[in-house]
C-alpha cells in the first residue's frame, strides 16, 4: 500500500507532493519518521486479551504507524497493575473497574478510557447438578450452587475474573468456603479444564470460553448481558497511561499515542471484526456520539464530593 502511494506521488510530481505534505508520513522515508520510531511500548494486560490472540491481530497496525514495537506482557489484572505501579510498564489494559479506580486514586494511572467489553458467563457440566440453568440472576445462581454445595472452581489469582467472582459472591451475601469451593490459582484456560475434569461450575469470560469450548464438555448455564443475561456479568475493559508525574521514565508520549490509536474508529473496528470460531469476542465502546465523563474518573467521582 505504502509503495503504491509513493509511486503515485512520484507520478503526480513534486508540486503535488508538497500540496499533500500533511500525508507525508504515509510516504515514510526514515527522515520523515516520527521521533518515537524504534522505541518500544510496554503494555501490561490481562490473559484474556492476550490469550484470545486479539492483541497480536491488531498491534501490527499501530507498530507500522509509528515504527515502534509493543511488548505485551500478559499477567492478569492484579499483576498488570502492580507492574505499572512499580513503573515497569507504560500503559495498562485491564478489566476490573474497582482495581482501576484504586490505581487512579493512588495517582499511578492517568487518562483512563473505556475500551471495549464482553461478558462473563457461568459455566458448568451439562448435567447441572445444582440446577441453575435458566436462572435469570447471577447471584441467585451462585446462591443455589452454594446451597447445593456443588463443586465450584475459582481462579483465586487476583485477576479481573477472580475479582468479578468475589464481587458476585459478595452481592449474593455468601462467603464461599468448604470442600466444594476450590481456588486453583491458575489461568482461565486451566480453570476451565479443572472444572471440566471435576464436573464443577466456574465463572469464565466469554472470550476464553469460546476459544476452548471445542475441547471441554462444559456449557453456558447463566448468560451474560451480550446474550440478554444480567447486567452484573458485564466485563468492561479499560485502558490507562502510567502517570509520568510518578514514574518519569514511563514512555508517556507513546502510551498516549497507543491509547489514541486503540480508541480510534479504525482500531475499534478491528476489535469488532476479530472473531474466533466464528464468534465476535470483544465489543468496542470507545467511540460514541454521547459524552461519557465517568470513563475518565473513578466510578461515581464528582468534583462536588469531598472525595479527592
Amino acid at each position: 500500500m505504502t509503495i503504491q502511494r509513493r509511486d503515485f506521488m512520484k507520478a503526480i510530481g513534486v508540486g503535488a507532493v508538497a500540496s499533500t505534505a500533511g500525508c507525508s508520513q504515509l510516504g515514510g522515508s526514515d527522515a520523515d519518521r516520527p521521533d518515537v520510531a524504534g522505541e518500544s511500548l510496554t503494555l501490561t494486560t490481562t490473559t484474556s486479551t492476550y490469550d484470545t490472540g486479539l492483541l497480536d491481530e491488531i498491534h501490527p497496525d499501530f507498530e507500522e504507524m509509528y515504527g515502534v514495537t509493543v511488548d505485551a506482557v500478559a499477567q492478569g489484572t492484579g499483576a498488570a497493575l502492580e507492574s505499572a505501579r512499580n513503573g515497569d510498564s507504560d500503559v495498562v489494559m485491564v478489566h476490573a473497574r474497582g482495581l482501576e479506580d484504586e490505581f487512579m486514586r493512588n495517582g499511578y494511572g492517568v487518562n483512563r478510557r473505556d475500551l471495549m467489553f464482553n461478558d462473563f458467563v457461568i459455566v458448568g457440566p451439562e448435567s447441572d447438578p445444582a440446577g441453575i440453568q435458566g436462572t435469570a440472576s447471577a447471584t441467585e445462581a451462585l446462591t443455589t450452587i452454594a446451597e447445593a454445595e456443588a463443586p465450584f472452581v475459582s481462579r483465586g489469582d487476583n485477576s479481573g475474573t477472580h475479582t468479578k467472582e468475589l464481587n458476585l459472591w459478595e452481592a449474593a451475601g455468601i462467603d464461599p468456603g468448604g470442600d466444594w469451593y476450590q481456588e486453583t490459582g491458575s489461568g482461565m484456560g486451566e480453570a476451565l479444564n479443572i472444572a471440566n475434569q471435576q464436573g464443577a461450575y466456574t465463572l469464565s469470560d466469554r472470550g476464553t470460553f469460546i476459544s476452548q469450548r471445542s475441547e471441554i464438555d462444559l456449557t453456558i448455564l447463566v448468560q451474560g448481558p451480550i446474550e440478554d443475561g444480567p447486567e452484573i456479568l458485564a466485563n468492561p475493559y479499560g485502558i490507562m497511561a502510567v502517570n509520568p508525574g510518578v514514574h518519569d521514565n514511563a514512555n508517556y508520549d507513546l502510551a498516549m499515542a497507543y491509547i489514541g490509536w486503540i480508541t480510534s474508529p479504525g482500531a475499534q473496528d478491528a476489535i469488532s471484526d476479530y472473531q474466533m470460531n466464528g464468534e465476535q469476542l470483544f465489543f468496542p465502546e470507545a467511540v460514541s456520539e454521547d459524552p461519557d465523563f465517568q470513563q475518565y474518573v473513578p466510578e461515581g467521582w464528582s468534583s462536588d464530593s469531598s472525595d479527592q
Binding site: 510496554t42 490473559t47 490469550d51 492483541l55 497480536d56 491481530e57 498491534h59 501490527p60 507498530e63 514495537t69 509493543v70 511488548d71 505485551a72 506482557v73 500478559a74 499477567q75 512499580n86 513503573g87 515497569d88 491458575s186 489461568g187 482461565m188 484456560g189 486451566e190 476451565l192 479444564n193 476464553t208 476459544s211 476452548q212 475441547e215 471441554i216 514514574h247 521514565n249
Partner: protein, 238 residues
C-alpha cells in the same frame, strides 16, 4: 548463528504455530541459558577451586550456604531479581525489566549453586594420592591444582550440565523478570520454551504444551550429548 537444524524442527513436527515462533523461542531459551551458565561457570569453578584448596574457619558454613542455594525456588529468585531490576530497584535506571539480560541474571543466580557445589565435590573427590604424586614430582601449588582440575574434569562437566539443566528447565523466574513477550508476528523477545509451555497450559492447550516439552527435552539431550562428546574427544587427545 548455527540455527539451521533448529529451524527445521517445526517443519518436521508440524506445529500449529506461526512461522519463526518455535525457532525464535528455542533461540531465546538457548541464548539465555547458555549465556547464564557460561557466566556462572566462569564464576563458580574458580570459587570451587579456591574452596577445594584452602581451609579456613567457616568453610563448612560456606558449603552449607551453597548447598542450600541448590534448593532455592526459582520463583523466589525471580522476585529478587525483579526487585533489583524493577524501575524502583537499585538497577532500575538500566531499564532491564522484561529483557533477556534480566533473565540471564536470574538464571545466573539459579545455576551458580549447583555448578559450584558439584565442582567442589569433584575437586575434593580427587584422591589424595594424585595430589601427593604431583607434589612428589616437584609440582608447584599451581601444577598440583592443574593436575587436580584435569582429574576432576568429568565432575566439572557434570556440574556445568546440572547448571544448564536447572537454567533451561526453570519457568518461574524467567516468567517474572522476562514477561514472556513475543512480537505481534510471533517472534520471541523474552519467551522461552518453558514460558511458552506455561502459556499453552494456561490456555488448556495441553497437547501443544507437551509437544513444546518434547522439544525442550530433545534440546537438553542434544546439549548433553555435545558436552559429553566434547569431553571424550578431550580425553582421546591427551
Amino acid at each position: 548463528m548455527p540455527l539451521e537444524p533448529i529451524a527445521l524442527l517445526p517443519a518436521v513436527v508440524d506445529l500449529p504455530f506461526r512461522e519463526g515462533y518455535v525457532s525464535s523461542t528455542i533461540y531465546v531459551s538457548l541464548y539465555v541459558s547458555v549465556t547464564a551458565v557460561t557466566l556462572s561457570t566462569l564464576f563458580s569453578v574458580p570459587v570451587a577451586i579456591v574452596l577445594g584448596f584452602t581451609d579456613f574457619p567457616g568453610k563448612q558454613l560456606v558449603k552449607s550456604i551453597i548447598n542450600t542455594g541448590m534448593g532455592f525456588p526459582s520463583v523466589v529468585v525471580g522476585l529478587l531479581v525483579l526487585f533489583t531490576v524493577s524501575n524502583q530497584g537499585p538497577l532500575g535506571p538500566l531499564d532491564l525489566i522484561f529483557t533477556t539480560e534480566a533473565m540471564i541474571m536470574s538464571q545466573f543466580v539459579l545455576a551458580t549453586p549447583p555448578i559450584t557445589a558439584i565442582s567442589l565435590a569433584a575437586i575434593t573427590g580427587v584422591s589424595e594420592n594424585v595430589r601427593d604424586a604431583a607434589r612428589v614430582l616437584g609440582g608447584t601449588r599451581l601444577d598440583v591444582a592443574l593436575v587436580v582440575i584435569k582429574e576432576a574434569r568429568y565432575g566439572i562437566a557434570t556440574a556445568v550440565l546440572a547448571g544448564f539443566g536447572r537454567a533451561i528447565s526453570e519457568v518461574g523466574s524467567v516468567l517474572i523478570v522476562g514477561g514472556n513477550i513475543t512480537s505481534a508476528e510471533g517472534i520471541s523477545k523474552t519467551r522461552t520454551l518453558t514460558t511458552a509451555i506455561q502459556l499453552e497450559a494456561r490456555q488448556g492447550q495441553y497437547e501443544t504444551a507437551m509437544v513444546l516439552g518434547a522439544i525442550l527435552v530433545a534440546l537438553v539431550l542434544v546439549v548433553n550429548a555435545i558436552v559429553v562428546r566434547f569431553g571424550d574427544t578431550e580425553a582421546v587427545n591427551r
